[in-house]
Point group: C2
Chain length 248, copies 2
Amino acid sequence: MSMIQTMDVDVGEPLSLHQRILSDISERILSGAWAPGHRIPFEHELTAEYKCSRMTVNKALSQLAKAGLIERRRRSGSFVRRPQSQAAVLEIHDIRIEVEALGLAYHYERVARHKRRSSAEDRTLLELDSNGPVLALECRHFAGKRPFAHEQRLINLAAVAEAANEEFFAVAPGPWLIARVPWSAAEHRIRAVAADRHIAAALDIEAGAACLVVERRTWSAEHPVTHVRFTYAAESHMLVARFTPSQR
Amino acid sequence: MSMIQTMDVDVGEPLSLHQRILSDISERILSGAWAPGHRIPFEHELTAEYKCSRMTVNKALSQLAKAGLIERRRRSGSFVRRPQSQAAVLEIHDIRIEVEALGLAYHYERVARHKRRSSAEDRTLLELDSNGPVLALECRHFAGKRPFAHEQRLINLAAVAEAANEEFFAVAPGPWLIARVPWSAAEHRIRAVAADRHIAAALDIEAGAACLVVERRTWSAEHPVTHVRFTYAAESHMLVARFTPSQR
DNA sequence: GCCGCGGTTATGTATATACATATTGAAACG
DNA sequence: CGTTTCAATATGTATATACATAACCGCGGC
């Protein structure tokens, strides 16, 4: 297992008052003591209960509303919301970290590198308009001696010109980009595919084996930066995502 | 494509002042105008710029800090953080909604239902201590005439006793549970598997085909409620997750 | 009975103020 | 020269206050 989502559990510190109010209430909601639809006390009632100003109570309740735990209605009060959708935070780490978390030695290999004018397919993947230059990379990531993941990447050279001068022998394109380009948005697609011959050879598995594929497209300030497809060796990989209604 | 993540993009409404400050600053960060490490103006400078009180500025900056876009240091100021990890919000809808979003008719079928004392395997899946009773369900979800997803579910009857009286012919266990049990936490595991014979038959695909599997474990107030494994018919399914540094 | 009108109420936003706290940089001291 | 002390500073939290806004309630007029 890898790609573990770390949760933000704050424990121990002396809580500020509005944080205490917030956690008191969310505990009662999450425990079911206050079921969906239940009206939680008015601000002025909590003000009395905690002997504090309305601003303090308001701060806590506003955060609960933003977190989606309650719904606030003028003149009516605040009500426990019913969970709307199964949402989870998926945290996808650098592959080196994933591998090392498994206690295995990480090794990176650059297989191929081509600079070219973007093809129609490249433009689809990157959501590019013009046929500007792109850098196409193919890499392998190893866990111990076994291939762990196969990486196919396109970099939009119009957005990251300096990538044209980098060979990517020593450093993987992922960390290289992260260190250089402030990204603003990303889109992930996760699916299962049967390994074709090329992938099977690269990952040293049988053709047709089920593989988890994670594709990521990244933008920086409205400009497409990179498209990458990671194909993980069959059975070696799993994504873990956790959800707890956020209190932050 | 399905399981689409809706983003919270607020547009149009008259923004309150602290929201405007917040979006002004986050835009400058996300556009790269203020690179990671850059010190953003002090609260008292923004107070002057926006001609408002420090509380208003503080509200905006506190939210940016909670969203992880900036880091605040006493006496030093607030600094743009470098993106820490690839995190995405994955929103997993009810299967009926997924199917209908594809423009296909949804149909549900209960295949099997067994009430039993929990086996060792059940206890592993549910993270149960005792060998209390569980309800094991097997269902199919159709998109048009084709099987879309196969569902294998365990319900902890100690947590949801009334499930023992429900046949689940008319209503799928997912929506039934959502409507009844306030869940507090969930964990997802996403992986690719080759369809075994049982799954292949249920989904009307070839054995060995690559399938996306989403497993979910749900807790309510510290008690395990249910474990469910959805297996999606090969090639028919994709998870989409988007990330934009949250401003809420 | 129906409609409109204003009052009441709870939340939404903003202000000025106050004091706590962490951290820095410089001055004072050994 | 190194260390301690201290004041300055930016943020963290909380208060009392004020007015805006949305929604509901009941009253009165028709």
